[in-house]
C-alpha cells in the first residue's frame, strides 16, 4: 500500500524532525499516522480499486457487445457457476454491474479524491504540520480497508456478490442472496471511514491553517475539500440508517421496506408487511445525490489549481466560484428526488425537485464558466496535468448539460433508466472526475516523491484516454435515446426496436478495451518514475500555493519553518514582480 519514497528521512531536507526516533517499517509505512503516508495509501488503494472496477466493466462490455458468445481464453477462469462454457450467466452480469458501481463510487473515486488528494494535499496547502487527529486519520483508512476487503470477499460467498445494483433498491435487495448482507456490512465500514475523515478534514481546515491564511485566501482546492467534507458528514448518516434498516429486514425479518401483499416467484412473502419501498430510495438518494457532488467538487478543485498554475494567471472569479461552491453544497441536500420521478411519488414532489435541480445547475455552470474564462489571455503551458485539466472542461460540460433533460420530469420520462443516463453520469465521472484525478496525480507526484513523471508517456496516456472515453460513452447517448434500458443483460438484443442501433454496443466495448491499453503507459510511468523519474526541486511547476514551500517529499511534520500566508493563493504574473509568480508565503 505504500512505497519507500513517501517519506525519506535521509533525503536532502532533514528539518527539525531529524532528531526524532526512527519508526519501524510497520509504523512508518503501514500503520502510519502521517497524513502524507495515509494519503498515499488511500491514493494507491483507490487507483487499484478503480482499475478493478474497470476490469469488471470490461467483462460486462463483452456480454453487451456479443450477447451469449463465449469469452475467449479468460472466460473459462470464472468457473461453471458464473460463466458456463465461457458464456456469462445473468446473475453474474448483475454481480458485475452492482459491484462496478459500488467499487467505482465508494472505493475508487471517493478514496482517491478525498482520502488521497484531500489527505496528502490539504494539510500542506493550508500550511499545517499534519491533520488535527492523526490517529483518527489512520483509523479511517483502516475502516475503508476493511470495507474494501468485505466487498471483495463477497464475490466468494455462496451465491456471489450483491446483485441489486449499486443503489440496492428494496424489496429486490432484501430478497436477494447473502452477498447483499456483505454489501451492507461493507458499506457500514466505508461510511464510518468517510465520517471519521470528514470530521478530520473540517477540523483541520478550521484549526490548523497557517497564520494569515484567512478563508478567502484558501486555494480553491481547499474550499472544495471543505465543502465536500460537510456533504460526507451530513449525507452519509441517513444511508447508514437505511443500511441498518435493510440489514434488519434481511437478518431480523422486519418489514421496513416491504409493503404488504408482496408476491415473489408466485409465492406470497411471509413477512409482517406494511413497510415502504420508496423510503429506501429517499434515504439512499439523500446520500447519493450529495455523493455526486462529493465525486465532482474535489475534481473541480484539482482542475482549478492546475489551470491557475499553467495559465500563469489568477483564477477568473475566485469569489463567485467560492460562493457558488458553498451554495451548491447547500442545494445538493434538496435535489435528491430527481432520481425518483418515475416512482409514482407524485407531481407536487416532482415539481419541487425539478425546480431545485434547475437551481443547482446554476452554481455548477458558474464554476465551469469561471474555469473556462480563466484560460482567457493566459500563456498556457500544455504539460500533462494541464492537458487532463483542459480535457475535464468539455467532458464535464457534456456530462452536465446532458443532465438537464433528466432533471426536468417531463423529458425524464422517455430517458429514465436508459443508456442515456449511463452516458450522462459517466461523462461527469469518468472523463470528468477521473481525468481531474489523473491531472492531480501528475501534478502532485513531484511533491510526493521529489521526481517528475514522464511527459511523453503522460501525453500518450492523455490522448489515448481522451479519444477512447468518447468512443465508449458517446454511442451510449444514441443507444439510450433509441430507448434501450440500462438494466438489460443482452444490451437490448431481444428487442426489435433496438436492432438498428445494436452495433453501437460493440463500438463502446472496443473503445473500453482499447482504453485499457492506454492505461498501461500510466501504470508503468507511475511506478518507474518513483525511482527513475527526473529529480526536481521543491517547486517544479513554479506554483504559488503553500504546499510547494515544503520540501519534496515533505518530512514528518511537513515544513522546516512555520509558513505564514501573506497574500491570496494565485498571485501569478503580478505587475511589477520580479518573477511571474509570488508564493503565498512570501511577504
Amino acid at each position: 500500500m505504500s512505497h519507500p519514497t513517501t517519506v525519506d528521512p535521509h533525503g536532502p531536507h532533514v528539518g527539525h524532525e531529524a532528531h526524532h526516533e526512527e519508526l519501524g517499517f510497520w509504523r512508518k509505512y503501514v500503520f502510519s499516522v502521517d497524513h502524507k503516508v495515509i494519503g498515499i495509501q488511500y491514493g494507491i488503494s483507490g487507483l487499484l480499486f478503480l482499475f478493478f472496477g474497470f476490469c469488471l466493466m470490461m467483462l460486462m462490455r463483452w456480454q453487451l457487445a456479443y450477447p451469449g458468445a463465449p469469452l475467449p481464453i479468460i472466460g473459462a477462469l470464472f468457473g461453471e457457476a458464473r460463466m458456463p462454457g465461457g458464456s456469462m450467466l445473468p446473475e453474474f452480469y448483475n454481480e458485475l454491474g452492482a459491484m462496478h458501481g459500488t467499487i467505482m463510487v465508494f472505493m475508487g473515486v471517493v478514496p482517491l479524491a478525498v482520502g488521497g488528494f484531500g489527505n496528502f494535499v490539504l494539510p500542506l496547502q493550508i500550511g499545517a504540520p499534519d491533520m488535527a487527529f492523526p490517529r483518527l486519520n489512520m483509523l479511517s483508512y483502516w475502516a475503508f480497508f476493511l470495507g474494501g476487503v468485505t466487498m471483495l470477499a463477497s464475490f466468494f460467498v455462496p451465491g456471489g456478490a450483491a446483485q441489486s445494483g449499486w443503489t440496492s433498491y428494496s424489496p429486490l435487495a432484501i430478497i436477494a442472496g447473502s452477498g447483499q448482507t456483505w454489501w451492507l456490512v461493507g458499506m457500514i465500514f466505508l461510511i464510518t471511514s468517510s465520517l471519521l475523515g470528514a470530521i478530520n478534514f473540517i477540523t483541520t481546515t478550521i484549526q490548523l491553517r497557517a497564520k494569515g491564511l484567512m478563508f478567502m485566501r484558501f486555494p480553491f482546492f481547499v474550499w472544495t475539500q471543505f465543502v465536500t467534507a460537510f456533504l460526507l458528514l451530513l449525507a452519509f448518516p441517513p444511508l447508514e440508517a437505511a443500511g441498518v434498516m435493510q440489514l434488519m429486514d434481511r437478518v431480523a425479518g422486519t418489514s421496513f421496506f416491504l409493503p404488504s401483499g408482496l408476491v415473489v416467484s408466485g409465492q406470497p412473502l411471509q413477512v409482517a408487511g406494511s413497510g415502504n419501498a420508496l423510503l429506501w430510495q429517499h434515504l439512499f438518494w439523500f446520500l447519493a445525490h450529495p455523493e455526486v457532488y462529493v465525486l465532482i467538487l474535489p475534481a473541480m478543485g484539482i482542475v482549478a489549481e492546475i489551470i491557475a498554475n499553467n495559465t500563469r494567471k489568477p483564477l477568473w472569479g475566485y469569489k463567485p466560484m467560492v460562493y457558488s461552491l458553498v451554495f451548491l453544497g447547500f442545494m445538493s441536500f434538496i435535489v435528491w428526488a430527481h432520481h425518483m420521478f418515475m416512482t409514482g411519488m407524485g407531481t407536487a414532489m416532482a415539481t419541487f425537485f425539478q425546480t431545485t435541480t434547475m437551481i443547482i445547475s446554476i452554481p455548477s455552470v458558474v464554476i465551469l464558466t469561471a474555469l473556462i474564462l480563466s484560460l482567457w489571455g493566459g500563456s498556457i503551458r500544455f504539460n500533462t496535468p494541464m492537458l487532463f485539466a483542459l480535457g475535464f472542461l468539455p467532458m464535464f460540460g457534456i456530462g452536465g448539460l446532458t443532465g438537464l433533460p433528466l432533471g426536468l420530469n417531463v423529458s425524464d420520462i422517455p430517458l429514465h433508466d436508459t443508456y442515456y443516463v449511463i452516458a450522462h453520469f459517466h461523462y461527469v465521472v469518468a472523463p470528468g472526475t477521473i481525468f481531474a484525478l489523473f491531472a492531480g496525480v501528475y501534478y502532485w507526484f513531484p511533491k510526493a516523491t521529489g521526481r517528475m513523471m514522464n511527459e511523453t508517456l503522460g501525453k500518450i496516456h492523455f490522448w489515448g484516454s481522451m479519444i477512447c472515453m468518447n468512443i465508449v460513452f458517446m454511442p451510449m447517448f444514441i443507444v439510450g435515446m433509441a430507448g434501450v434500458s440500462r438494466r438489460l443483460f443482452d444490451g437490448g438484443a431481444t428487442y426489435d426496436f433496438a436492432q438498428p442501433i445494436l452495433h453501437w454496443n460493440a463500438v463502446s466495448s472496443w473503445g473500453a478495451w482499447i482504453m485499457a491499453l492506454f492505461q498501461l503507459p500510466f501504470i508503468y510511468n507511475f511506478f518507474s518514475s518513483m525511482w527513475n523519474g527526473e529529480k526536481v526541486g521543491d517547486n517544479p511547476w513554479e506554483a504559488t500555493t503553500i504546499e510547494w514551500a515544503a520540501p519534496s517529499p515533505p518530512p514528518h511534520g511537513n515544513f522546516s519553518t512555520e509558513p505564514v500566508a501573506h497574500r491570496g493563493p494565485y498571485d501569478y504574473s503580478l505587475p511589477g514582480a520580479k518573477k511571474d509568480f509570488v508564493p503565498q508565503c512570501e511577504a
Binding site: P129, A132, T203, Q207, F236, A242, S255, L279, H556
Partner: protein, 196 residues
C-alpha cells in the same frame, strides 16, 4: 511533532480541535437519528393501523429509565466540574456514578426486551416492534459506547490527569457532550415510542 490547538484554544476560533471534532460528530449523529425518526413518521403514517405505545410498552419502566439517564447527565457534569476544580477523587466518584447509572439503564432495558421476547414479540412481529427494537437498540449501542469511554476515563485514562490535566479535562468534557446527546436522544425516543 505536536499538533497545534490540541489542548489550548486557537485564538480566532476560540476552540480546541477536540471540541470542534465532537460537535461535528454530534451533527452526523443528529442526521443518523433524524433519518430514523423520519422513517418512523413515514412508516407510521403509511400504516393502516398503529398501536399506541403505552398499550404495549411499560411506561413506568421507561419513566424510571428517563430519570436514570437525566441523573447520569447531572453526574457527568459534576465529574467535569470536579476536574475543572482539579479534584480527581471527586471526579472519579461522579464519573463512576455516570457509568453505573448507564448500567442501570441497560439492565432495565434488558428486562423490557426479555419480557417482549418472552411473549413472542420480535422485530419481525410488526413494524411497531421493528422500529422500537431498531431505535432503542441503536440507542443502547450508543449508551454502551459512552459507558466504555467514561469507564476508560475512570480507569486507565485517568493517568493523563497527572501529566496534562487540562487536556484530560477537555476530553472528559467532550465525552460529556456525547453523553448528553445520548440522553437527549432518549428524551425524544421516550414520548415517540412509549406515549404517542
Amino acid at each position: 511533532m505536536e499538533i497545534p490547538y490540541t489542548v489550548e484554544a486557537r485564538r480566532d476560533t476560540g476552540l480546541n480541535n477536540g471540541k470542534i471534532g465532537i460537535w461535528l460528530f454530534l451533527a452526523s449523529e443528529v442526521m443518523l437519528f433524524g433519518a430514523l425518526f423520519a422513517s418512523y413518521i413515514l412508516i407510521r403514517t403509511g400504516s393502516s393501523s398503529w398501536p399506541r405505545g403505552d398499550t404495549i410498552l411499560s411506561v413506568p419502566l421507561a419513566t424510571f429509565n428517563t430519570l436514570v439517564l437525566i441523573s447520569s447527565s447531572v453526574t457527568m457534569v459534576m465529574a467535569w466540574a470536579s476536574l475543572m476544580r482539579r479534584k480527581l477523587g471527586t471526579f472519579r466518584m461522579y464519573i463512576g456514578g455516570t457509568v453505573l447509572l448507564g448500567l442501570v439503564f441497560l439492565i432495565v432495558k434488558y428486562f423490557e426486551y426479555s419480557d417482549k421476547f418472552h411473549h413472542g414479540h420480535f422485530p419481525s412481529t410488526d413494524n411497531f416492534y421493528a422500529i422500537y427494537f431498531t431505535l432503542t437498540g441503536l440507542h443502547m449501542l450508543h449508551v454502551a459506547g459512552g459507558m466504555a469511554v467514561n469507564a476508560y476515563f475512570w480507569g486507565p485514562g485517568a493517568k493523563q490527569y497527572y501529566t496534562n490535566p487540562e487536556w484530560f479535562t477537555n476530553r472528559v468534557e467532550n465525552s460529556g457532550l456525547f453523553w448528553h446527546f445520548v440522553d437527549l436522544v432518549w428524551i425524544f425516543l421516550f414520548p415517540t415510542l412509549y406515549l404517542l
